[in-house]
Each structure stands twice: as structure tokens, then as C-alpha cells.
Symmetry: C2
Subunit: 404 residues, 2 copies
């Protein structure tokens, strides 16, 4: 498996593009993206668990219910959530895209991200979709990645190539998200394409299993969006034998999928609103993997720990405190904690007790932009990882002054 | 029922005091508090749910297991958590207090708040306890309230007087807590005294029921402390007939207890680390009270909403988003939201949809220091309230730069 260029256009048979269509006031920021497969693709999706859901989620869920889709359209600047006529606007968006692309509306997935509670104007879709359809290209991934950004400061795109039974295959992805959600202008979106030949059922199974260790393990502020969506399209153009059950080919596919989603997840955590540092927490020695993942996520979600890391303070008491209030079953009296970065490593806690170390040295280590918090629960074989970011003045500024 | 002065010394037969004993480096800040009842009192306690627990919790729990206690001792500056010899230090503290007061060590409750992971030195107890015991007085509540403060900026103390079957009774309380916990220097502590004559069983029942709507409904940063403790002592000196079952006297007692705990809870939320505003969220029309409380707490716990309130931004999408990810069963399509303060009120959302309002007017209303977010779920009769505070630059500063 190797990382390759091209994002969602790296797999065979996918065009993409992005333009400024007028959802925002600033023409310098693209706000409409499209990804189109040359062939109808197996499709799968996962969606926010928030009870307040964006209207596009209802429409997308219905359109890929049969396991297939051909294209995906996404605007930024307005979330089409708690908004008048939400579902009919989302339906109409798919019809406009279908008509421009010569496809069925029921084969189009639709996503929106941006302000909640305001009616999503159809005019920018009506004017923009035909233009966008004309600019789609086999190297347009970055245009689409740029168009779905909101408060993101860097574009998130990646792709990997790998072999399934001797056939070269590729998976690509783009994503956005800068608060784990800021319901006014964020939302976590992930769009993944692949030329692997795989049945819709196995594709959904692979995606649903994958997000447990990738997108679900990142947290910027604990706020779950109304619009979070991950969609994967698999058009089969790599021409491997169709994957229809678990086996070596399926596992190879899952491994490559994990490389793409984990890369995108880490990119989103590192680009958390106001963040200056990526925090990775790895937990081993837990009773089981699920418990390890919960503990890791609890640690990287703690405001107090996030603020301490911002201040380069090796405040391991906050790590133990966050482990302790994790909603899972384990003992908390034999925990080891080590903090690491490119600048070195320091063991700060052993057997849930303080271990002598130099605060100055620890602070130097925590001044790096990538911080690893290594936890050993010493009670089993469960492992898990989660990614977050520090809590900074800029997070408060972005979210306090946002709409002004 | 009326609010009266005197804090934990307002009820008959309680002395209190606080001194600087040397747990901290700054002699201007008191760090050792004591509350002593003239008679052995019914005692009840509630403790943190964190799996990492301070050593004093184990000792206090054991000492009041028989339903009685006579005194309470508490130091600030060191939490005696994840610390060497924690339990024996806590035991020894009780022995020192018992010897100075002429009591049994098993009738003393002990609490600690402060830094995690460092051995709690016995020397300040050895030198300080006899001195403190000599300064206890029937108007020493404020001394004790000051000695338990950490990052708190204001002292929290209150008392109410009320009649039970014609007998004048009083409940007093002090508390501290400025992060719902900052494990390095915070912890929520509440110490309540009363001269009501009530059995240990009914006292525990009243306290356990009360915290569900008071202390458990506040949140500063979502981090649950390792040392959170609420202790109540009831010495019976009001000489009412002993309360041994639910009935009018019990309910009168519960009502007065709620006035004290709710007052202290709101004070703690308003004094949250870095806070400039108290946020109260009331939820009505929920399927049941528990769901209403969960929804209210989810709203006041949202980092995004907290930052918006700091910025005086009537960002109701964040209210709906936080309601939506509450872990409870309800529908989210008929929610009304109104934002209020001493400066006026504005209805921002009706039936889960945007309602036209002036952003300028709303912003003016949100510039007040007390903000009420009034939610109607329109689907039942459940009510609940929660209290929090805004998320500010100073929260990040306090918790990022804390130990430096």
C-alpha cells in the first residue's frame, strides 16, 4: 500500500470539481462541490447521531438506500438544517445535478454545511450546477476539497493504492471539519471514492466498521454536528473480482480504507478550530478494544487537558481524571502515562502514582506541534487511539465572535 | 422560609473556623477548615463518580458509614489523590482532629482539594489542627468558606430558616468549586449543616435526592473531579420530633435543603473558571423530568454555546444542536427557544425553525451577566434546570498557564 496523489480522483473513473456559486458573500471562497463516477457505483453512508438532523441527510439516505449512487453534490455556507422547505430544497438540488449530468436524481447524494436555520436558496444551485458540471475533471479533487471547507484552514485530501489479488486498486478521500462541529459553519464531512469492485452490503459493512476507529475517534469540542456525513462510492473500475464476503480481499480493502480515513481524521483533529497542536492518545492494556477507545477519546476530549497541552504543561493528573470518568468498566489503580513528541519523551505516572521527572524537560517536549499521550492500563490486551487538539484563545475567539 | 446570615454556623450548635496552616506557599490564603457540631450529628454524604478517587473519600465514607459524625476537616492546596500513603495520611488527619477536639477519629469526615499526585504532608496538620481547634467559633463560617477556596474568586455560603411543625429550624452551607473540576486545584465540595432532628437514613435519602436537581445540574467544563464530595451534618438541636419517614416535616426539610444547595450550585456555576456570565437553561414540555434535566445540562455544557454566550451571540442553532445530541429519548421537531436577561427577552426559534428577530437587540440582551435560555420541547410535562457559565479567554489562560 502506498500513498498517492489525486484525492478522490485518484481511483479510476472519478471526476470532481468545485466553484463559487454564491452561497457565501465572498467570491474568493468556493462553495459548491461535485464528485461524479463514470459508472454507477456501490454506495454506503454513515450519518450524525444528533436528533436534530440536516435535511440533506434524509434525502441522501433515501437515495443510496438501494446501495448505489453515481454522484455527490455539496454546498458550504448554509447547512439546510432547521430551515424552511429543507427536504424539498435538497431534493431539487439532486434534480438539478441529475439533469446537468444526465443521471437519475435518485442516484445523487447531497450534503450541506454552514449556518443553521436559514432557508437554503436554490438560485446558486440553478445557476451554478450547469457551470460546475462543465468544469469537472479527472484531476479536480482539490477543487472539490476547497469548496467544502468552512473554518478549515487546510485542505484535507489523500489517496492510497494497493493490490487486491494482483489487481491495482485505489481509494481516495476528501474531508472537512474544524470543530467536531460548529453547527453554525462546520460539520464533519468525508467523501471517499474507490475503483474497487465491492458489493453495496460489504461496502457499508466496511465503512460502518471503519468509522469506529477513525472519524468517531476524533474530537475538537465534543459538539456532535447536525449534518455529519461520510459517503463512499465504489465504482468497480479496478476490475477486481467483486468483493461479496469477508475474506483476504475484503480485509485488504478495509486496511486501505483505514489508511485513508485515519489520515483524514488526524488532519481534521489537527485543524481543529484555533488548534496549535495535534494530540494523539493511545491506550493499551485495557480490558478490551472498545474500552481502550473510550478511554482514549475521554482523554483527548477533556477541556482541562486540552488547555494544559496548549500551555505545554505535563499535567498528568488531568489525564488520570479524564480516564477516571470514562463511562466503561475498568480499574484505575495501575495506570502508566508517558508523554511524547518529536522532542523526546517523559514518563510522568506509574501505577497511578506520580513519577519524578523534570517539569522543564516535560514542558520542552510538549512545545512540539504533535503530542502523543501513551497510556497503559495494565489490565488486559485492549488497544485504541483517539485524536484531538489543544484548547486555545483562538477557539474562544472563533466561536465567540463568529457571526459578527 | 427565609435566607439568613451565618452560613454553616447559622444552625444551632455548629462552630467553624479556617486558618493558614502551610499547605500553600502563600500565607495570605487560608488552607485548613473545620466544622464541628456540639453534639454527634446524623451524617450523610455523596461522592464523585470518577473511578480515580481521592484517598479522603475512602476514609470519610468509612467514618460516616454508621450514619453519624461530629466534625469535618478539609485542607486546600493538595488533593491527596494518586499520592503516596494517601489513606494513612487521611486517617492520621482524622486522629489529629479527634485528639484536638476530644472526639473519636471515626466521627470525623475529611476532605482535600488541590494538586493531584503529590504526597500530602502531615506537618501542617500537626501544627495547624490544635491552633485551628482553639479558634473555632459560632460565627466562623466565613473563615471555613475562605479556607476551602482554590481558584474560586468569591466565597460561597448561605443559610435558610424555616419551621417544621412549629419548631424553628435552620440549614446552612458552604461550598467551593470553580471548574466543575480542575483536578489540579479545584474539586466541588459542599458542606451543609442543620439543627434539624432527622435520622441518618432520611438524611441520606434527602441528600441523594437533592443533588440530582442541584449540584449535579451544574457544569463548568465537563470534567468530573476525583474528589467531589458533599457532606451534611444534622445535630437535632432544633429539637423538632425526629424525622424518620417521608411526610410533611421531611418535605419541608427537603424544600429548605434545596434552597441552600441550589443557591450554592448557582454560585459555583457563576464563579466558573474565567466566567463572565451565569447561564441558566430551563427546559419544559419534555417527556419527563429526567429528560428535561439531561437536555438542560447538555445545553449549558456545550463549548460552542458557551463561547457564543461569551460573545453575546444569540446562536440558537447551537442550542438545538446540543439538545439534539442529548442522550435521551424525545423528538426534536417542535422546539421553542427564548433567550432572556435583565435587559429583555427574545424568542429566537419556534417549532425548531428560525423566528425573525433583531440580532442587535438579541446581542444587547446577551450582554447581561445572567442569561436564561428557556426551552419548550412541546411534548410532555417534564421540567428541569441546569446552570453553567460562558467559555472565555480566561478559562484557557487559567487552565493553560495554571501551574506556571
Amino acid at each position: 500500500m502506498e500513498f498517492v496523489k489525486g484525492g478522490v480522483c485518484a481511483p479510476a473513473g472519478f471526476k470532481a470539481g468545485g466553484i463559487y456559486a454564491g452561497f457565501r458573500n465572498n467570491p474568493a471562497k468556493k462553495d459548491l462541490a461535485m464528485i461524479v463516477s463514470d459508472r454507477k457505483a456501490s454506495a454506503a453512508g454513515v450519518y450524525t447521531q444528533n436528533k436534530v438532523k440536516g435535511a440533506p441527510i434524509e434525502v441522501t439516505r433515501r437515495h443510496i438506500e438501494d446501495g448505489y449512487a453515481s454522484a455527490l453534490i455539496c454546498n458550504s455556507g448554509n447547512a439546510n438544517t432547521c430551515a424552511p422547505n429543507g427536504v424539498s430544497v435538497a431534493e431539487r438540488t439532486c434534480e438539478l445535478a441529475a439533469s446537468a449530468l444526465g443521471l437519475d436524481a435518485s442516484d445523487i447524494a447531497v450534503c450541506s454545511t454552514g449556518v443553521i436555520g436559514q432557508e437554503l436558496d436554490l438560485a446558486p444551485f440553478e445557476a451554478g450546477i450547469p457551470v460546475l458540471a462543465g468544469t469537472l475533471s479527472y484531476d479536480g479533487s482539490s477543487e472539490a476539497a476547497a469548496a467544502i471547507m468552512t473554518t478549515d484552514t487546510v485542505m484535507k485530501e489523500t489517496a492510497v493504492s494497493f493490490d487486491i489479488e494482483g489487481t491495482r486498486c485505489t481509494i481516495g478521500g476528501i474531508s472537512k471539519g474544524s470543530g467536531m462541529i460548529n453547527p453554525n459553519m462546520a460539520t464533519m464531512l468525508g467523501f471517499i471514492t474507490t475503483d474497487v469492485n465491492i458489493s453495496p452490503q460489504m461496502l457499508q459493512k466496511a465503512l460502518s466498521a471503519d468509522i469506529v476507529t477513525s472519524f468517531n475517534q476524533i474530537c475538537v469540542d465534543g459538539d456532535t454536528s447536525t449534518n455529519d456525513t461520510v459517503i463512499i462510492l465504489a465504482n468497480g473500475m479496478a476490475q477486481n473480482d467483486e468483493i461479496t464476503s469477508e475474506g483476504e480481499a475484503y480485509h485488504t480493502f478495509c486496511e486501505a480504507l483505514s489508511a485513508v480515513t485515519t489520515y483524514l481524521a488526524k488532519k481534521m483533529a489537527a485543524d481543529g478550530e484555533g488548534a496549535t497542536k495535534l494530540i494523539e492518545c493511545t491506550v493499551k492494556g485495557a480490558p478490551d478494544d472498545e474500552t481502550a477507545r473510550k478511554i482514549a477519546k475521554s482523554v483527548i476530549s477533556s477541556n482541562l487537558l486540552k488547555a494544559a497541552i496548549f500551555g505545554s504543561d505535563a499535567n498528568w493528573g488531568r489525564v488520570l481524571c479524564a480516564i477516571g470518568y470514562t463511562d466503561a468498566v475498568f480499574t484505575a489503580d495501575s495506570i502508566d502515562v508517558e508523554m511524547k513528541s518529536a522532542k523526546g519523551s517523559v514518563r510522568v505516572c506509574e501505577g497511578s502514582r506520580h513519577r519524578e521527572y523534570s517539569e522543564d524537560e516535560a514542558s520542552e517536549i510538549l512545545k512540539a506541534s504533535g503530542i502523543l499521550i501513551d497510556v497503559n492500563m495494565n489490565q488486559g490486551t485492549g488497544c485504541g487511539t483517539a485524536w484531538g487538539c489543544d484548547l486555545t484563545y483562538d477557539y474562544v475567539k472563533i466561536n465567540g465572535d463568529y457571526r459578527s
